[in-house]
């Protein structure tokens, strides 16, 4: 028998990619395509679902081509996707009724405020583990159904379908209208205990049950892809951050990782029980492997980290590429007193303040572009510090090492600074693309490519490590200043904005 491989699609916010892995969990081929970010108004962010579907099929083909193998060499395909991003499409024609509304989009602000009015932001936390925020899908569906006349009726009649990106892709590839439980846990429509759609939540958000996909395990053969992908079994789907938790082999209670991409997301495995957060974290489903019990996680979501570097590159133009931010930052010794809080879509964990907007604090005539580059990078580290503190408080366990992954781990200055402000070692695993790896693992388990999760642990190796070097006075002072800068972002948005 010739060597077999497993493929993963990472349908992210900025791009879609396909990675092919061998039996040892090593990357053998990669292909990536960016898609358009549509900004119709300030605060609005959309994607074209058809473009994304096209790109997904294309990256799989290209990854196979560059690797020099065919679909028949694949035992299966797993999907990891940007979460919460919402698509509504026609059951018969397959045409989306609107562009996808992306997780960063803030247009549902007034819907969310109305829902929280008398009851507060944590009105539904007990049921779904989430605070009311523009981030989640439920309010986005509601907005979509009201965006044009007749849509709500068509949804109630079962003519329209709702899905997050996993659903949209699996429906198009296999014809089945399903979603995985980790993605469903981000909609604000699923009950965390029953792992089923919750009528109270559906009523409150005005989302008809008839348009919802069936909730399925994360690791399971959902069906076989049609001709476009030569019948390959679609064997897993997970939200990208849950996939990364899986790819980092955080299979046991107490294991955690943080992924540094467009945003950054710290997830801690809390085992088979959902743990409620008292410190501004989310409770979410980590994974569900076939018929096994679901694993839950606590999550600290940071909306803007790598996206700030992108912004610095594309909108400010002081650098020509993301890695150059490190080169520019290294032209100075420190941040020159500058703190940059990128509250571009409000603040996520642990603050959950939709009324916040970005601030550069501490500016003086002394500041140079080098200091600004430092502040851009340090923002990622300080935001991590805030969610780590919340995680320690919620779980009662002190984090002793941070397992980091994602594209920003290529930045040495950032990784060192992260270790410095957390006061614990930061380690990077030998596969930085843990999102794809996790989707491949989940798919591989479903098709028997790997026997069990324990066999996957053997693939995890430390590829780099940064030890804290900053003295604690400097750290404490920096954190104090950061918190002051955060205070200055709050209460910026007014009712007439």
């Amino acid at each position: 028998m010739s060597e077999k491989y497993i493929a993963a699609v990472d349908q992210g916010t900025a791009s879609s990619r396909c990675l092919v892995f061998d039996h040892e969990g090593r990357i053998v081929s990669v292909s990536q395509m960016e898609h358009e970010q549509i900004f119709p108004r300030p605060g609005w962010v959309e994607h074209d679902p058809r473009e994304i579907l096209h790109n997904v099929v294309e990256v799989v083909r290209r990854a196979l081509d560059t690797g020099g193998f065919g679909v028949s060499d694949l035992v299966g395909l797993g999907i990891a996707n940007q979460r919460e991003t919402t698509v509504v499409w026609d059951r018969v024609s397959g045409e989306p009724v609107h562009n996808a509304i992306v997780w960063q989009d803030t247009r549902t602000d007034s819907i969310v405020r109305k829902l929280g009015k008398e009851h507060g932001q944590d009105r539904f936390r007990d049921r779904c583990g989430l605070p009311l925020a523009t981030y989640f899908s439920g309010p986005k569906v509601s907005w979509l159904l009201d965006s044009a006349p007749g849509l709500r009726e068509r949804a109630e009649g079962g003519d329209l379908l709702f899905g997050t990106m996993d659903s949209w892709l699996v429906w198009n590839l296999t014809g089945r209208h399903v979603t995985d439980v980790t993605n469903a846990s981000r909609t604000m429509l699923m009950n965390l205990e029953t792992l089923d759609w919750d009528d109270t939540l559906l009523d409150a958000m005005g989302v008809p049950r008839a348009m919802l996909p069936a909730i399925q395990p994360s690791s399971k053969v959902y069906g076989e892809a049609g001709d476009s992908l030569g019948g390959v079994p679609i064997a897993a789907a997970l939200g990208d951050q849950q996939a990364a938790l899986f790819g980092q082999t955080c299979f046991s209670v107490g294991e955690a990782k943080c992924t540094y991409g467009t945003g950054s997301f710290l997830l801690l495995n809390t085992g088979s029980r959902p743990v409620r957060s008292a410190h501004g974290l989310l409770t979410t489903v980590g994974s569900k492997i076939g018929d096994e019990l679901a694993t839950y996680a606590l999550e600290g979501s940071i909306a803007v980290t790598g996206a700030l570097v992108q912004w610095f590159r594309d909108k400010v133009g002081l650098i020509g590429s993301a890695p150059e931010v490190e080169t520019l930052a290294r032209t100075v010794e420190d941040n020159g007193g500058i703190y940059f809080v990128p509250a571009f879509s409000g603040l996520f964990a642990p603050h959950w303040r939709g009324d916040a907007r970005g601030v550069i604090a501490g500016l003086t005539g002394y500041a140079t572009k080098g200091h600004l580059a430092r502040a851009v990078l340090e923002a990622t580290a300080w935001q991590t510090r805030e969610v780590v503190d919340a995680m320690n408080a919620d779980s009662g366990i002190e984090l002793t090492t941070l397992k980091a992954d994602g594209g920003m781990t290529a930045n040495n200055l950032l990784m060192q600074f992260l270790a410095d402000v957390l006061g614990v070692p930061v380690v990077r695993p030998i596969v930085a693309e843990t999102v794809s790896l996790g989707a491949a693992y989940a798919a591989g388990l479903a098709v028997g490519f790997w026997p069990d999760v324990e066999s996957l642990r053997a693939h995890w190796h430390k590829a780099g490590e940064w030890l804290p070097q900053m003295d604690s006075n400097a750290r404490d002072k920096g954190y104090r200043k950061w918190k002051k800068a955060v205070q200055r972002t709050l209460d910026w948005v007014d009712d007439d904005d």
Binding site: E24, R26, I27, V28, V30, S321, A322, P323, E324, E326, T327, G407, T409, A410, N411, N412, I430, V431, A432, E433, H461, K462, A463, G464, E465, W466
Partner: protein, 254 residues
Amino acid sequence: MPKPIQSIERASAILRLLSGRTRRLGLVELAGELGLPKGTVYGILRTLLSVGFVEQDPESGKYRMGAALLHLGSSYLDGNELRTRALNWSDWLAARSNESVRLGTMHDGQVLVVHHVFRPDDSPQALEVGALLPAHATSMGKALLAHHPYLAAELTKKELTRFTPATITDPQRLLAELEQVRVDGWASEMEELIQGEASCAAPVHDRMGVAVGAIAISGPIERLCEGSQIRSDLVSYVREGARTISRDLGAVPW
């Protein structure tokens, strides 16, 4: 002084007309400015396009200065950029070879380590990013010098420091070995920097074909060598890794 080459003069004139980041000119405008037939200008533009010194806007068909020219001022690819672009395949190389991996660029006649992947055995190791290594006593240095004859010539004008009995300190011997490295496409080093340690490296090329870096695996000779040679499987992994990174940087596959 020999007569200046006319086509180079004309190419330079075109580049001067296109200089400035926002300048875009069509064929007719360029030919008009230079007082030359369109066919002549077109021929020169095709050549400049092929080396990346000019680019053509796909919509308007107008020409502008190419990215390759903008980057010409800096002699090597930004090390941070190289690390980021090479991240996945450096990991792959470490996983495949089961050895530690380093990626280096030339910096003031030495090799600057811009990326380091631990040997994947979870033993205690420390990151060596930022370290400067002697070019003549490392396989990364040899792989780079083989493609930068000017740097090799400069280096061999000065005394070559001895680190071990095996260090090559004879300039002629070094230059001869570099010639062989250029032919083979990879370089090795046997106990030339540290006794008991060996390494092998291959050059990473950018889309202009410039050797912008070298990627190496290193470790104790017991593991890396068979007899007096680097294991051939390790050599092919290093070469494959370098080739894949180069392809991602846009180098023409070879």
